[in-house]
């Protein structure tokens, strides 16, 4: 086959359009709301690198990078779902409880038999869809504020966990635990690929599907969307189902990592508030309508790098909380200033 040059332009104009395209790309990247997030991430990595090196440690080693990627997976996956509901102008405080419950159910259903792995995952995903559906219905049909609805759901799930389990639940099969929790290809852990796949799906859904556009529209203004003929209730319910699904995937991952389900794994990780913090660190507005997955991933990495540095410096866990609180507030304050200048 011969390659036919489709453009009949002279080389000069072609170069010009190319230059324009590159310039446009540059402007597009820098103007995207995710740009300051990655700026902040880069800054934090550089500071972390310097601090750790001065302390006598090594920051950019294979082990350390693997560690950081691993750490970002659990928070990362659930934050992706949280991004969708926050974009919508809602939020989900029930994810931590759902993560614990799904880790327990995963372990229980697998029951140590490798034949049970797939059915267990299906059951847990159905559980997630059910919880998300319930959240969505409570918010739309009962008109309960999302904050209270999902807080109530967290209480409900917490009670179910306490009623059913008093301690860790064994039964995660060795093979599954090994595959998902510990396999890695070079520097990339298997679990990180799972994170990347979920991220790609959520990104695609938000960027290129009707549902994604609707999420942004409803987040921008629910009333306007409704008046323009959108079925806002369906969008809200769908987003909550998506969010709960990411929570149960996180639960499955944590079960594989710990080789057991634990009643407190979600609460200990603080995944409810921490995922919201990651989303906001990623530049998504809490009021909805602005932001996206790319920013959230940056936010998750920021938290993972911080965690890693604290570990390397052997910080007291309480100091960790203090510094983390300060970083979250400071970063969001900086974004807010930027936004103000632009406006």
């Amino acid at each position: 086959m011969t390659v036919i040059d489709p453009s009949e332009q002279s080389p000069g104009t072609r170069a010009a359009t190319r230059k324009e395209r590159v310039a446009g790309w540059r402007v597009g990247v820098l103007a995207s709301p995710a740009a300051p997030v990655y700026g902040a991430l880069l800054g934090i990595i550089i500071i972390a690198w310097i601090v750790v090196t001065i302390d006598g440690g090594e920051f950019l080693t294979t082990g350390n990078i693997v560690n950081m990627l691993q750490r970002s997976v659990a928070l990362g996956i659930v934050s992706l779902g949280q991004t969708v509901v926050i974009l919508l102008g809602s939020l989900d405080l029930s994810v931590a409880a759902l993560i614990s419950l799904s880790s327990l159910v995963t372990a229980q259903q697998m029951d140590g038999q490798s034949g049970n792995v797939i059915p267990a995952i299906v059951i847990v995903l159905l559980l997630g869809a059910g919880v998300g559906l319930a959240n969505g219905l409570i918010i739309t049909k009962l008109r309960v504020n999302a904050f209270i609805a999902t807080l109530g759901m967290a209480l409900i799930l917490g009670g179910i966990i306490e009623n059913g389990w008093s301690g860790p639940q064994g039964g995660v099969t060795d093979g599954f635990s090994q595959d998902l929790g510990y396999t890695r290809f070079g520097v990339i852990p298997m679990s990180f690929i799972l994170f990347a796949v979920v991220a790609a799906i959520v990104w695609f859904v938000l960027r290129s599907t009707r549902f994604g556009y609707r999420v942004y529209a409803v987040g921008g203004s629910e009333d306007v969307s409704k008046l323009s003929g959108l079925r806002t209730h369906r969008t809200i319910i769908g987003a909550h189902i998506l969010c709960s699904l990411t929570a149960v995937i996180t639960g499955i991952f944590l079960a594989s990592r710990l080789k057991a389900g634990t009643p407190t794994v979600g609460a200990d990780g603080g995944y409810d508030l921490e995922s919201i913090a990651a989303v906001v660190l990623g530049g998504t507005a809490l009021t909805g309508g602005r932001g996206g997955v790319i920013g959230t991933i940056g936010g998750v990495f920021i938290l993972a790098v911080l965690d890693n540095v604290f570990n390397q410096l052997e910080f007291n866990s309480f100091v960790r909380d203090v510094v983390r609180g300060i970083v979250i507030i400071a970063a969001v304050a900086i974004y807010a200033r930027r936004q103000e200048k632009k406006a």
Partner: protein, 336 residues
């Protein structure tokens, strides 16, 4: 004057007008009072002693910290913000008090003063960051929660140390003795009513109107001359100080522990929402918010009496909260 007379000036409202206004206010936020009454009656049926002055006062005494926190949460919520730091602030109060007092009665009052100052400073920081620095209050107070939790345990080295003095504890535990019929009027109940009355007066003063206007429509409020930032910061300061008061009471109730304040921020917000306060600001009354806290506490009592304590308690609580708020939302829609 006749009740039909709607005074045109609006300011010189006559008695009939006021009566009408109170009635309409009661109807719009009345759900919570009906719910509270139903719960009280139900509890009395299950356990007749509940209606006797002693046990009822004990219930009020138990509820006082949450009611006070709900009042604080109300100010912040109605101005359109969140305060998620009050739970950890309560913990800070108890832990700091124990560490500084170390059982020494003479240190009680200076420490109480210090606690109130800490509450005000934390509230001011929350308000300043949320308004002047434009960080969403959800994030500000979430960060503050992390900072306070971390700081207090860092300082105490992981486990709370020290002890509270007897007279510090007496604020939460004791009361005015020797009153006929009710025997003892707990300090915490008196404090609850004083704070309740003060909150009502505050909401009726200029500050309250400006606060509601700010929460309802920030732009409109700003254009009509409300110093929006100042009002909001003040709301956070009130929330911080009231959290300090609640912490002092809770320190008297139970022992010194790191779990005292856990989840209280959510309880306080839930109480407000039960009382019809709209998240996002601009709607709701402080009395209804405080009634919401009493309802929540009555709910806990009811759950205990039903024997649903322990494992499934949380589940039932969650279902009831969702149901009650859904019911309130339904009523509100019907009224419109």
């Amino acid at each position: 004057m006749s009740t039909e007379n709607v005074s045109a000036s609006g300011f010189g409202a006559d008695a009939g007008d006021r009566g009408k206004r109170i009635l309409s206010a009661l109807l719009s936020t009345g759900t919570i009072f009906i719910l509270l009454l139903i719960l009280w009656v139900w509890i009395t049926i299950l356990n007749p002693t509940f209606a006797e002055p002693g046990p009822f006062l004990a219930y009020l005494k138990r509820s006082a910290p949450l009611v006070i926190l709900a009042a604080g949460a109300y100010f912040v919520l109605v101005s359109g913000n969140f305060d998620l730091s009050v739970g950890s602030l309560v913990t800070v109060m108890v832990v700091v008090a124990a560490r500084l007092i170390e059982g020494e009665p003479s240190r009680t009052w200076p420490v109480i003063l210090l606690l109130l100052v800490i509450g005000a400073v934390v509230g001011f920081a929350n308000g300043f960051i949320s308004t002047i620095l434009r960080v969403p209050s959800f994030i500000t107070t979430l960060g503050m929660l992390l900072i306070l939790n971390g700081a207090v345990f860092w300082w105490t080295g992981g486990a709370p140390r020290g002890a509270l003095s007897e007279n510090f504890r007496s604020i939460g535990r004791q009361g005015i003795e020797g009153i006929p019929w009710i025997e003892q009027l707990p300090w915490s109940v008196i404090l609850m009513f004083v704070i309740g009355a003060a909150s009502v007066l505050l909401m009726r003063a200029d500050f309250g109107r400006q606060l509601i206007a700010t929460g309802d429509n920030e732009r409109a409020a700003r254009l009509s001359g409300v110093r929006v930032d100042r009002v909001r910061i003040l709301a956070f300061v009130l929330s911080g100080v009231l959290a300090a008061v609640a912490g002092i009471l809770l320190g008297g109730f139970g022992g010194v522990s790191a779990q005292v304040g856990k989840g209280l921020e959510f309880d306080a917000i839930t109480a407000c929402v039960l009382g019809g306060v709209v998240l996002g600001g601009g709607r709701g009354s402080v009395v209804a918010a405080m009634a919401g806290a009493l309802t929540l506490e009555a709910l806990f009592t009811w759950l205990n009496l039903q024997g649903i304590s322990g494992a499934l308690e949380d589940t039932v609580q969650g279902v009831i909260i969702i149901g009650a708020v859904g019911f309130a939302a339904y009523r509100l829609r019907g009224a419109r």
